[in-house]
Symmetry: C2
Subunit: 245 residues, 2 copies
DNA sequence: TGCAACCCTGTAACACTGTTACAGCCAGAC
DNA sequence: GTCTGGCTGTAACAGTGTTACAGGGTTGCA
């Protein structure tokens, strides 16, 4: 429901649709690079994407507005729309870029458990190193894409460990859910306000009985330890004996 | 930076600040209920909150706009602002409401492991039954609040299981992270587009070697099974022997 | 040379968003 | 009566995504 519905009745060109590439097919056309093949283009699709990526890095996907982007490039908004078609399409393209940039995951360790754990750890690190990726996938609802690199490695490792078929899918998904869910939450918990009054009251009550517990509950948890604990438990369980029944 | 900075120079009243209750103190003032103590109020703070809650239930926190809310109540926007002060304050109030509505968690089972697992399950169910809660906490960045009911139950159960101090905090947090992260991800994965072309290509490649795995990877995973698997593994690990040093 | 086609850009607008300065109504208090 | 405070409305500011439309510049073709 965009760009294609020309409401008919366009005088000149029948239906001059923007969006040169509706996401997916960057053809040989490439309006870029080559100096100026036609009407002296002031910006390039790549330039738009580069600048957009910078803005996202600086202030998150939410901080990216088409007008700001245009202003940054010294161009009118319509140019942006001509090159990338859409804000959603723009964000999708950025997601794909970051994904390409991430590449594969290095697997370490000798035992299957160690190797799989290393994948989970590396995957989390990769995502955390790209905070803008999280903000991108969350705004576009493409959360599953940020698990892609690890997915490939996990499938390979579980197969090598002798896990196949449905059980392998379950195992891969279990580890993936752990990583993605953990990272998603972890990113959201940083910089949260000190919570409500009723929460504080309860913490005080706990502290009266077990001061060490109270202190540990209020102070920010050690994400690394929590992550390792959970991953280790899950991997052990997955590689262990087949569950009864 | 709102409502208080009157830019000085207000002719009549020195600084007529709105926001009757800056979140936290709903005093005896209660401009509500009592028929009409003053100038026939057309709406009530509670009425505003009720309608806002309904709109959030219908179309998520993102779908709640101050103008829509005002229109729904047949009032001008300024009335909304007078009653609740702010959009953020409004959402915070709604979060608190839902939290109150959730109440405590019923713990079942006899063994510590069973009881703790039941808390995790019940917590997840409680949150999933209130999709609007997730949309609310996510927009306000108050993710930790949605874990509050389970937190209290977990502290109690781990204490009963003989886990205290720092180790108890770690255990509680581990389970909480599992629940919250899982639910957060689970909510986000529903209704995702069929992913990109490169993803499909990879899936095809996998299917060639292990058709059953390929099929299971594309079809939506069984969230219940995944959740139980992870929680079970984590709880077993937590209640097991103290990790070596 | 003229001319048409195409690429790309700019102007200006629509419909929305959160928020606020300001004026005003109305009931009760004095 | 006047005054005060609770509550509401009008209209505006600044910002958002998006698009209809006009136009300029370069290319290819007759």
């Amino acid at each position: 429901m965009s760009a294609m519905d020309g409401t008919g009745a366009t005088p000149k060109g029948t239906a001059a649709r923007p969006t040169p590439s509706p996401t997916g097919t960057p053809p040989t056309r490439t309006p870029a690079a080559g100096a100026s093949p036609a009407g002296t283009p002031r910006v390039t699709r790549d330039a738009v994407l580069d600048t957009a990526m910078r803005l996202v890095r600086e202030s998150g996907a939410q901080g990216l507005s088409m007008r700001k982007l245009a202003a940054e490039l010294g161009v009118a908004v319509t140019s942006i729309y001509w090159h990338v078609g859409n804000r959603e399409a723009l964000l999708d393209e950025l997601v794909e870029r970051v994904l390409r940039d991430m590449g594969a995951i290095r697997v370490r360790g000798r035992t299957p458990a160690a190797r799989i754990t290393s994948i989970a750890r590396a995957s989390r690190r990769m995502i955390l190193e790209r905070p803008h990726l999280i903000s991108l996938v969350r705004e576009r609802g493409l959360d599953s894409l940020m698990m892609l690199p690890a997915r490939k490695a996990l499938v390979r490792e579980f197969a090598a460990a002798g896990v196949h078929g449905r059980r392998a899918a379950l195992a891969v998904q279990a580890v993936q859910y752990q990583v993605a869910g953990f990272v998603l939450l972890e990113r959201n918990l940083t910089g949260e306000p000190p919570a409500l009054a009723q929460v504080q009251a309860w913490v005080d009550e706990v502290s009266a009985k077990d001061p060490e517990l109270g202190r540990a509950l209020t102070s920010p948890p050690d994400a690394d330890t929590l992550f390792d604990l959970a991953v280790h438990a899950i991997v052990e369980s997955l590689l262990g004996p087949e569950p009864g029944s």
